[in-house]
């Protein structure tokens, strides 16, 4: 499908002053796609220029459409010397290729400069006209949906899961080319951003091709990683799961036809891996344990076009995947779910890691009886959408289905007989729910908590950290040293996690993410997961309860453990089952709760059973630090809970997103500190960072929750450690709406959804008559705010066009001002006020309305209390921000630097704020109003105090969606 891309530059606002003398700017815009460049006219002497350019047309084949970003550059015209760059905008037009999209993109974009950040905004429109073309030899793959979310958005339904797709690209990194020594930092940064943007496009195109070959129409759980190998170049990797999805509305009519056409024998692939973390019902039949594999490799310089480099890296990852696959088979599983890949690079050594959860899946989960599935699926949706309401959902469902669910959920954890005899790290015990089924005593998985699994109490994040100092080195010996370390770190992390989960009285860990980060003189491993207490697994806290009734422990250490566990049991309400009231488990199956006779109660040596984990892993005489480490973990503040999953397990009330946050915390460490101090320091820092985080969040809302917390450890320099934490802050949904606009829209739409099950259809249908209404009327009537917001969001064009007309008149006045008065001084003075007259105030008015509906960003894959109506596209941005004046720049905020800091807090603050602003602008321009599955990876802050320089790299990704 070749196409015609049309771009129109309309106006600009808040431009920076480029001419010191007149305090004004003579701005013009360059529009570039591929190798073709167009220019607008120069709009002289204004900080709020209006170009109203013609339509710049680019005729491109679809391969380029997918690969190339649209580049917009704003410059200040200079008659005598070179034009000064104001900033750039990169627009990925991939979302416009989607069949469902309107092929139009329109909105204000922040003008971004890598050295100065955001410098004004410009308004532009992009239109894409696609021509139908069925070339079977094509290289492109337009119209494939990429979804970052690890679960399917609720507006879609999975028809079929095809399997694992992966691809990567290798290139030279402009930052490390010889030419970099000659050019300005800005030029390098821009070359890099351009390259990264292009590689992102190309990667998606290639993956799209693969999906097409597999017969799918979308990629779910798409993860893109940038590996910056410095001198060795840059690798962009993408992995995902090819699926066939369909919109929920369509499914009712078309499903039968589609399901017939899908051929289910495709599962036997090279790698039966799935990058999703939540699955449709019936897909998963047994959940085994987390598996991971690491390898250490030595990097060599990449030469562009050298296929060897590509092959080497391909073989590296393949080895790793083979290993994972081997683990999976050893566990008698047929798939790996919740699969992720990660690389950590330091100089010329790279640690490649792959992680997933071995599982048995049923690729034929597809609808057997249509009706039932429909039901089930809706149920899945409901639970998924408001995961926190799961308990109530269950109590409503019939006892029969509960039984089924329960049986299913129990089988999910069963350890097959043949496996128990193998040499296997698992310890198996009969399940408390059904003594005939053997289950592991502790379960670690990388996936989300399956929806139909019963658990007790609340969940909480558990984190294990371990670091080891290493000698600085290079080449082969260094790599060898690192690879020797890995098993130890791995072991330590596991040991810590295991014990930490156990002493919290829990028995399972979901969403496990363990990362090993390599620094010059240190290797750090951090493993994070959300611990819960599964009803199907042996319950540790029940044992501890029996301890309670016995005589108090004598040993002080045991006493400490007991009291810690007791505290946890209380905080996380783990005793619900034994008290047997509200929990459906005990209601439905009281006879299944462990009887004193069951082998579980272990009444003979219950004291030991409580500390059993610790005993077996480390003898008592070993080290007190270890015990301290376990016991000194601080629990979340009262009534607050944290999870790294999409939901906070056990929170029944409905929640509202307050906001997405990111926190950067950097500490210095001593170059030659010993392991003990390093480990203590690491623990203290992480704990302190968490404390700070809780403090911030609780300033406004004393009771709040964190979901989808992500920890990223970065070792940017040989004596500093960066901790990046992102997550979503949630609060209980108060019945009295604060933000009336938002709440009203939700309330009104709720009954609609409940009645006909179709999402928002009536509203969209109403859209047209809303359009014809005058905005003013609509506002003054105020009777249906929801309608208003719908029309605004789904048709971003119309108000903008209206706005455009106004800007037009304003622009001419502006020009008149600046030329006729002659005195540029007056014009300069009024530069920010020159938009006199009522028309501008109208615009402002409009803008205010826009602002009243905030653009949400959330790391979760759905929006609490709101429904995803449409998935618009994936956003992948690599943002570079640099400054050559950490101290002494205009942007510095001296009053806000900590006394002991290096002076770059302002820089980080701005970088992060601007990144969010860029995301929001793209979301709005694409016609969305939220970004879900937000993920920031590859965040690095590099600082050189001597040179007074700092650089911040952030790679963000997520799904642009329309929510309602």
């Amino acid at each position: 499908m070749p196409g015609r891309l049309k771009v129109r530059i309309i106006a600009g606002r808040h431009l920076p002053v480029m001419d010191r003398a007149s305090e004004l700017t003579d701005a013009f815009v360059e529009v570039k796609f591929g190798s073709l460049t167009y220019k607008t006219e120069v709009f002289p002497k204004s900080l709020n220029p209006t170009w109203n350019s013609e339509w710049f047309k680019f005729e491109v084949d679809d391969e380029h459409l997918q690969d190339e970003p649209l580049q917009i550059r704003v410059l200040d015209h200079d008659t005598y010397s070179a034009h000064d760059a104001i900033g750039k905008i990169y627009i990925d037009i991939d979302p416009l290729l989607d069949d469902e999209s309107s092929h139009v993109l329109c909105g204000w974009f922040p003008i971004y400069d890598t050295m100065h950040g955001i410098r004004g905004e410009i308004l532009l429109t992009v239109k894409l006209e696609l021509f139908a073309d069925a070339n079977q030899f094509k290289q492109s793959s337009c119209g494939f949906k990429f979804i970052c979310g690890v679960t399917v958005p609720e507006c879609y339904r999975i028809k079929y899961i095809h399997g694992f797709v992966h691809e990567f690209l290798v290139n030279e990194d402009p930052e490390y080319k010889w030419i970099d020594k000659l050019r300005t930092p800005r030029a390098t940064n821009e070359a890099r951003q351009r390259l990264f943007s292009k590689m992102t496009g190309e990667l998606q195109r290639r993956i799209g091709r693969k999906v097409e070959n597999m017969g799918g129409n979308a990629v779910l759980g798409y993860q893109q990683q940038f590996d910056i190998e410095e001198d060795s170049g840059i690798v962009v990797r993408g992995i995902g799961t090819a699926v066939t999805i369909e919109t929920r509305k369509k499914s009712r009519k078309k499903s039968t036809i589609r399901s017939a056409s899908s051929s289910p024998d495709k599962l036997t692939k090279d790698f039966p891996f799935y990058t999703m973390k939540s699955f449709p019902p019936r897909f998963l039949s047994r959940l085994s344990i987390a598996v991971n594999a690491h390898s250490v490799k030595l990097l060599e310089k990449i030469h562009t076009g050298n296929s060897e480099d590509v092959e080497t890296r391909d073989s590296w990852w393949n080895e790793l995947r083979q290993e994972i696959k081997g683990h999976c088979h050893a566990l008698a599983c047929n798939a790996v779910i919740g699969y992720t890949e990660h690389a950590s690079i330091c100089d010329d050594v790279v640690i490649l890691s792959a992680q997933g959860t071995a599982a048995t899946v049923n690729p034929l989960f597809c609808p057997v009886s249509q009706d039932k599935d429909e039901n089930c699926d809706d149920h899945f949706l409901q639970v998924n959408f408001s995961g926190s309401k799961r308990n109530s959902t269950f109590s409503e469902s019939t006892v029969q289905s509960l039984d089924e669910d329960k049986e299913d959920s129990l089988l999910l954890f069963e350890v097959p007989k043949e496996l128990t005899e193998l040499v296997c790290p698992m310890k198996c015990q009969p399940s408390p729910l059904n003594p005939n089924i053997l289950v592991p005593d502790m379960l670690f998985t990388t996936v989300h908590l399956p929806n139909d699994v019963l658990y007790i109490g609340k969940g909480t994040v558990v984190q294990a950290r371990f670091c080891r100092s290493k000698k600085k080195g290079q080449g082969e010996p260094n790599a060898a040293l690192v690879s020797e370390f890995l098993p130890f770190i791995e072991y330590e992390l596991h040991k810590r996690l295991y014990n930490k989960v156990k002493i919290r009285g829990m028995n399972a860990l979901f969403g496990l993410e363990s990362k090993i980060t390599l620094g010059e003189n240190i290797v750090v491993g951090v493993a994070t997961g959300t611990a819960v207490c599964l009803a199907a697994l042996p319950n540790i806290c029940q044992q501890s309860a029996s301890v309670e009734s016995k005589e108090p422990s004598t040993s002080s250490l045991e006493a400490r453990y007991t009291s810690f566990t007791r505290q946890c049991v209380e905080v996380f309400q783990l005793k619900q089952t034994t008290e047997a009231e509200c929990d459906p488990t005990s209601n439905a199956h009281p006879h299944l709760s462990p009887s004193p006779r069951s082998p579980l109660s272990l009444s003979m040596d219950d004291k030991r059973s409580l500390v059993i984990g610790i005993d077996e892993f480390s003898p008592h005489d070993d080290d007190d630090e270890f015990h301290d480490l376990l016991l000194n973990d601080s629990l979340p503040p009262p009534h607050c809970y944290i999870s790294n999953l999409d939901i906070c397990p056990g929170l029944n009330e409905s929640l509202t997103l307050t906001q997405m946050f990111s926190l950067l915390w950097r500490v210095r460490y001593d170059d030659d500190a010993n392991d003990k101090t390093l480990n203590e320091g690491l623990t203290r820092c992480c704990e302190q960072a968490m404390k700070t985080l809780w403090f911030r969040l609780r300033r406004n809302n004393p009771v709040c929750f964190i979901a989808k917390a992500r920890f990223l450890l970065v070792l940017a320099d040989d004596d500093e450690l960066q901790i990046w934490i992102t997550g979503a802050a949630l609060i209980p949904d108060t019945k009295a709406p604060k933000d009336s606009n938002k709440k009203i829209s939700f309330r009104n739409s709720a009954p609609v959804r409940a009645k006909n099950g179709l999402l928002q259809e009536p509203d969209l249908a109403k859209e047209d008559d809303v359009e014809s209404n005058d905005e003013g009327d609509m506002l003054s009537l105020g009777l249906d705010v929801r309608k208003f917001s719908a029309s605004f969001i789904s048709r971003p064009l119309s108000p903008l066009y209206r706005k455009l007309k106004r800007t037009n008149t304003v622009g001419s006045r502006n020009r008149y001002d600046s030329t006729s008065s002659g005195a540029s001084k007056t014009a300069a003075r009024n530069r920010h006020f020159s938009e006199g007259g009522s028309s501008i105030s109208d615009i402002d008015h409009r803008d205010l309305n826009e602002a009243s509906e905030p653009v949400e960003i959330t790391p979760m894959s759905y929006m609490c209390d709101r429904a995803t109506v449409r998935h618009i596209g994936v956003l992948n941005m690599f943002i570079i921000r640099e400054t050559t004046a950490v101290r002494g720049s205009d942007e510095e905020i001296p009053s806000a630097e900590p006394a002991h800091g290096t002076g770059c807090s302002w820089f980080v603050s701005r970088s992060l704020t601007e990144t969010n602003a860029l995301i929001r602008a793209h979301v709005v321009a694409l016609g969305g109003n939220a970004l879900t599955s937000y993920k920031s990876s590859h965040c690095v802050l590099k600082e050189s105090l001597a040179k007074n320089e700092a650089q911040c790299l952030i790679h963000v990704s997520g799904d642009v969606v329309l929510i309602h």
């Binding site: 307050t658 500490v667 320091g681 203290r684 700070t692 300033r699 601007e914 969010n916």
Partner: protein, 371 residues
């Protein structure tokens, strides 16, 4: 490993502003001061003592960083509403702006009527010594005034509305700034020692009267909203006859006294002793009338306009005060005086001009008349 981080930054998708911290920042408090203050306010017992200082400190720094980033935009508040870098709720935006532009009456009083230029700014250290405020704080107050002054200087239309619109300020605050701008524009002398008893509010109220009646600011279609109607000032010169012609003067005096008597009779005003009858009125008529008319007839000279406040103070307020009049009596006298003049045939043709002058002047006198 160090226990304190050298970078500690928290950024959210939505900028949430802690207004307690914001006010401290506006007062130019140091981060440490703000920390201590906020810690005192916070009564959360759950937190352990140690580490608390750090938590507050890092929190304050984060807030201060937000304010520092927002500050350039606060200089152009309309920009704050449509910029895209910071997502702030409408309510917070409004509050942030109005707090930023909140006037410190004590500080601003000191430079009322002065030229808002660099040299006045340089002299701010005197003001800050006098008012015990931080220099930067005074400078911000000054800069706010100057910014608004410059912005609306050449704008057409209503002064107050311009300020309200372009700085997104609440109406009352816009009026305050309108007064500051108006006083500075005409360089009304507000700093004479005698006037030091007058507060910022007095001047704002007086300016309000002047702007409302003497300028065209209320009508939307005017090019020079701050200019005092020159035609009016020119016409005002003719009221001189009220004192220059003896016959007229006597007639005016008699009418005034009669009117006062009638009024006294009607209201049975108390204080019958030494001020009984209309003795007081007759005695003070000459100096007062000379003063009032003198001010009016000279107003066309721009230098005299500057001295308007000191003039009415010296020539009307002070004499009345020495006579021991209370505010009510001053008001009664001025009402009678104004009405009496209007009845004179020579003034009749000027009656609109006279009304415009004397009503506003009466309001001003009453505003600044203190016991």
């Amino acid at each position: 490993m160090e226990s304190l981080p050298d970078v500690d930054v928290f950024v959210g998708n939505i900028v949430s502003i802690d207004f307690a911290a914001y006010e401290l920042w506006l007062e130019q408090a140091e981060a440490e001061e703000a920390r201590d203050y906020l810690m005192k306010l916070d009564k959360d017992e759950h937190k352990e003592k140690e580490g608390r200082e750090f938590l507050f400190y890092s929190y304050v720094l984060d807030q201060f960083r937000i304010f520092g980033m927002l500050e350039p935009m606060l200089h152009y508040p309309t920009m704050l509403a449509n910029q895209m870098t910071y997502q702030i709720s409408m309510d917070s935006q409004k509050l942030v702006i109005s707090k930023y532009y909140a006037l410190d009456e004590v500080v601003v009083r000191e430079f009322l009527g002065k030229k808002l230029n660099k040299s006045t700014r340089r002299d701010l250290d005197e003001i800050c010594a006098k008012t015990q405020k931080k220099l930067k704080y005074c400078q911000r107050q000054f800069d706010n005034c100057r910014r608004i002054f410059k912005a609306v200087e050449d704008m057409s239309g209503s002064l107050v509305k311009n300020i309200q619109k372009h700085f997104q300020l609440p109406l009352s605050l816009s009026w305050d700034y309108a007064a500051v701008v108006f006083l500075a524009n005409h360089r009304f002398d507000c700093s004479k020692r005698k006037l030091s008893c007058l507060g910022f509010r007095d001047f704002v109220e007086c300016s309000k009267f002047l702007i409302e009646s003497w300028t065209h600011s209320q009508t939307d279609c005017t090019d020079l909203p701050q200019e005092i109607d020159p035609e009016f000032l020119h016409d005002l010169r003719s009221v001189k006859i009220l004192v220059s012609e003896q016959k007229l003067f006597d007639k005016h005096k008699n009418t005034t006294v009669n009117k006062a008597r009638e009024l006294l009779h009607l209201s049975e005003l108390k204080g019958s002793d030494e001020l009984a009858g209309t003795q007081w009125c007759e005695a003070s008529f000459r100096p007062l009338s000379r003063g009032i008319v003198g001010i009016a007839s000279c107003l066309y000279k721009s230098k005299e306009i500057r001295d308007y406040f000191i003039d009415i103070f010296e020539k009307v307020v002070e004499p009345c005060r020495t006579c021991g009049w209370d505010k009510e009596r001053v008001n009664m006298f001025l009402q009678c005086y104004a009405a009496a003049a209007k009845q004179l045939p020579q003034i009749e043709q000027l009656s609109l001009t006279w009304d415009k002058y004397i009503k506003t002047t009466t309001k001003c006198i009453l505003q600044i008349y203190k016991k």
